[in-house]
């Protein structure tokens, strides 16, 4: 009798410790997302190619595609996203206060933001260089030709400081006028208040369409900075950061491995490549390690596509922006995009 009770106790204890070992570190954000039934994603107010709502209120763009991939990985449904448009001023407080689960909005990763704002940057989905748009009639070839010009910019953006530093270092005298919103700044440029407007090359390509006569303006090709951008999370909740980071890695890995939204079913069923099989949940149980279903990346790729598909559709040659892949090409093809292995 005593022995049987002791035995049962031993078994129970063993069972409990096994259960403990399988229990994942808590993720309050993931629990909240699941309980709510949708992902809250902070996006740009309206930047064609990156995050833009059409007249039916449907969001699209490179940054929006990331939100969709994340929702597909968590819920198996890319449409379970609620988008919160954020201005330059609101973006950090909205993330810090927990109003959104992740921010995917064309914001530059910088040291001081990382060190002092309680923010973590979970990888890079767009390498951008800051440049200028000027009137063709001004006859300017590069940024150095803007000596004496007045430049419109969004206040508090990295562009504001970059431009001020760049001109000061070269002893060029420019006047920089800071507007609260990108849209106000470009409207003032269009009205003739400024000789140039500065922003990232991707943003400029999108905003150019908003000008009265887009053909009268030219975007200077040589960038004055390097502004990597990617999804942002709050500090704490390491497991949620893991998910946010690896969904981004997964979309890039899918392109490297040749997995697309078209062939994903066939690849999952027949691929002999073990990394493809782990990525798509055919083996390895990688989704479960983060508290998601094992077909997390299968869903994301099936519904949103890999990074390259998304790029072409939103900002690349298949879009009105017509941006070259450039730095945003895979490292194997001469770009900067790279992902650690799914191993």
């Amino acid at each position: 009798m005593t022995i049987r009770i002791l035995g049962a106790a031993v078994l129970l204890a063993a069972g409990a410790s096994v259960a403990q070992a399988q229990q994942l570190a808590p993720s309050p954000t993931l629990d909240a997302v699941k309980a709510r039934g949708n992902l809250e994603c902070g996006v740009h107010l309206g930047l064609p190619g990156f995050s833009f709502a059409n007249d039916k209120g449907e969001w699209s763009g490179l940054d929006v595609d990331y939100c969709k991939a994340l929702a597909a990985a968590v819920f198996g449904d890319a449409n379970k996203v609620k988008y919160t448009p954020t201005s330059v001023q609101q973006r950090w407080p909205i993330l810090q206060s927990g109003q959104v689960d992740v921010l995917s909005r064309n914001s530059t990763i910088t040291f001081s933001r990382n060190a002092t704002l309680g923010l973590n940057f979970q990888g890079i989905n767009f390498y951008e260089g800051q440049t200028f748009i000027v009137r063709k009639s001004a006859g300017v070839k590069d940024a150095a030709g803007l000596d004496g010009a007045s430049v419109c910019v969004a206040a508090g953006s990295t562009e504001e400081k970059n431009a001020a530093d760049w001109f000061r270092e070269r002893n060029l005298k420019t006047t920089i006028t800071n507007f609260q919103k990108n849209d106000d700044a470009i409207a003032a440029y269009d009205a003739g208040r400024c000789d140039a407007y500065t922003a990232g090359v991707g943003a400029l390509a999108g905003q150019r369409a908003k000008l009265k006569n887009p053909d009268e303006h030219v975007i200077l090709t040589q960038p004055i900075s390097n502004d990597p951008q990617g999804p942002v999370t709050r500090w704490g909740d390491e497991r949620w950061q893991l998910i946010v980071r690896w969904v981004l890695n997964g979309t890039i890995a899918a392109e490297m491995l040749g997995v697309t939204s078209k062939n994903v079913d066939e690849m999952k069923a027949n691929s002999k490549n073990t990394e493809v099989r782990r990525l798509l949940g055919a083996e390895g149980g990688f989704g479960a390690m983060m508290g998601l279903s094992n077909d997390w990346m299968y869903n994301a790729i099936k519904q949103v596509g890999n990074y390259g598909e998304s790029y072409e559709r939103t900002v690349g040659m298949g879009s009105p922006l017509k941006l070259e892949r450039g730095q945003n090409q895979l490292w194997t093809k001469g770009g900067l995009l790279f992902t650690p292995p799914f191993q």
Partner: protein, 386 residues
């Protein structure tokens, strides 16, 4: 004195409530501050005011304080405060002048004048301020010519859609002397008018105050400024490349915000002026008229002094509104404290709580100063019954 009567003493109870309220308020503040700072530490957000000493790196196109972009964020804060105060003070002065003119025109017996003034007041009161700001900025200022086609004012100042570029003295020394001379002559006028008033009370004789005033208030300052201008070397703007170089630029954002604040606030001040004047009993002007005073003298000697007592409290409100409304400058990139500090600096540092608290304090301090000044004025002009 037993306990019961002590409790029932009204003074004791009043003190008790006052102290209880203060303790409650202090307690609440401590609770909120501690709660916020604990949560910020937990979320990895830096707090405190150390960020003020970081280099700002922000270029400001309209600076009164000698700030450059390599100065710290605290210096940027003062640039914003100075710009807010500049536009507020000038807007208050001009809106008061315009408002008085429109208010008096509204009461004019001239039908057309009164109707135009009335239409203006109705128009202003029913249009949001933001519309005025955007109208002046995009409608009026942006319609000015490009720098190369600037409107030249006597070949030394140039007006274009980048603002008005005016010559700037190379060395301001002579102007400091001129300012001193002006100050001395104004104080001199003030002393002379005080002496003239006393003399009139004593002897009933009028002093030639008009001539003295003309000399001390207008002629002497004009001569001083003329001398300083001629004795100074000027940095005259010249067109080079994109725009005029040299001189001082009054930016279009300042002009547009000032114009919007003045035209908007004048409509409200006009109504206050009308109300104040109408509140003066009709018998007052009838009595003055019976004494043989002319309409202009009746207005300036009898009606307006009495109307001012009614007008001062609502005028104070309007002045405070001008201060608060100056933050609309953020909509058109006027570099005020909201735009520079709560916009650029907040975005660069992310120190939302500290920056918003400091900006609130700026409005609170300036606002309380304006109220105090107006209350002092109100007490001075209050009817003294003997």
């Amino acid at each position: 004195m037993n306990v019961l009567s002590f409790i029932n003493d009204k003074r004791v109870r009043d003190w008790f409530y006052q102290i209880a309220l203060i303790v409650l308020l202090v307690g609440l503040t401590v609770f909120f501050v501690r709660n916020a700072s604990e949560n910020m530490v937990k979320a990895g957000i830096a707090s405190g005011f150390d960020f003020l000493w970081r280099t700002s790196g922000i270029e400001v196109p309209f600076v009164l304080t000698g700030y450059t972009q390599s100065d710290d964020i605290f210096a940027l804060f003062w640039v914003g405060v100075a710009n807010t105060m500049l536009v507020t003070v000038i807007a208050i002065a001009l809106a008061t002048l315009l408002g008085f003119a429109i208010g008096i025109a509204r009461l004019s017996s001239h039908w057309l004048l009164s109707t135009i003034a009335g239409a203006y007041i109705e128009f202003v009161r029913n249009i949001p301020l933001l519309f005025f700001v955007l109208f002046w900025y995009f409608g009026v200022i942006a319609a000015l010519p490009q720098p190369r086609q600037s409107i030249s004012l006597f070949g030394v100042a140039f007006l274009n859609n980048r603002g008005i570029t005016i010559p700037l003295p190379d060395a301001p020394g002579n102007f400091r002397w001129a300012a001193l001379v002006i100050l001395v002559s104004w104080v001199g006028y003030w002393l002379a008018s005080a002496w003239a008033r006393k003399r009139k009370e004593r002897t009933g004789q009028d002093a030639p105050l008009l001539a003295i005033g003309l000399g001390l208030i207008v002629v002497v300052p004009a001569l001083a400024i003329a001398w300083a201008s001629l004795a100074t070397r000027w940095d005259i703007p010249v067109l080079r490349g994109f725009n005029y170089r040299g001189g001082f630029v009054v930016i279009p954002e300042f002009v547009a915000l000032l114009a919007a604040l003045v035209t908007y606030t004048a409509g409200f001040i006009a109504e206050i002026v009308r109300g104040g004047i109408e509140s003066v009993a009709k018998g007052q002007s009838e009595a003055a008229s019976a004494l043989g005073l002319r309409p202009g003298r009746i207005l300036s000697l009898v009606v307006i002094p009495q109307a001012l007592r009614v007008m001062t409290p609502p005028l104070t409100n309007q002045y405070l509104n001008v201060l608060k409304n100056s933050s609309f400058g953020a909509a058109i990139a006027y570099p005020d404290v909201v735009s520079l500090f709560m916009g650029s600096a907040l975005n660069n540092t992310g120190q939302a709580i500290e920056i918003i608290a400091m900006t609130l304090a700026v409005y609170l301090v300036i606002g309380l100063a304006v109220s105090a000044l107006m209350n002092w004025y109100n007490a001075r002009i209050a009817l003294v019954t003997r």
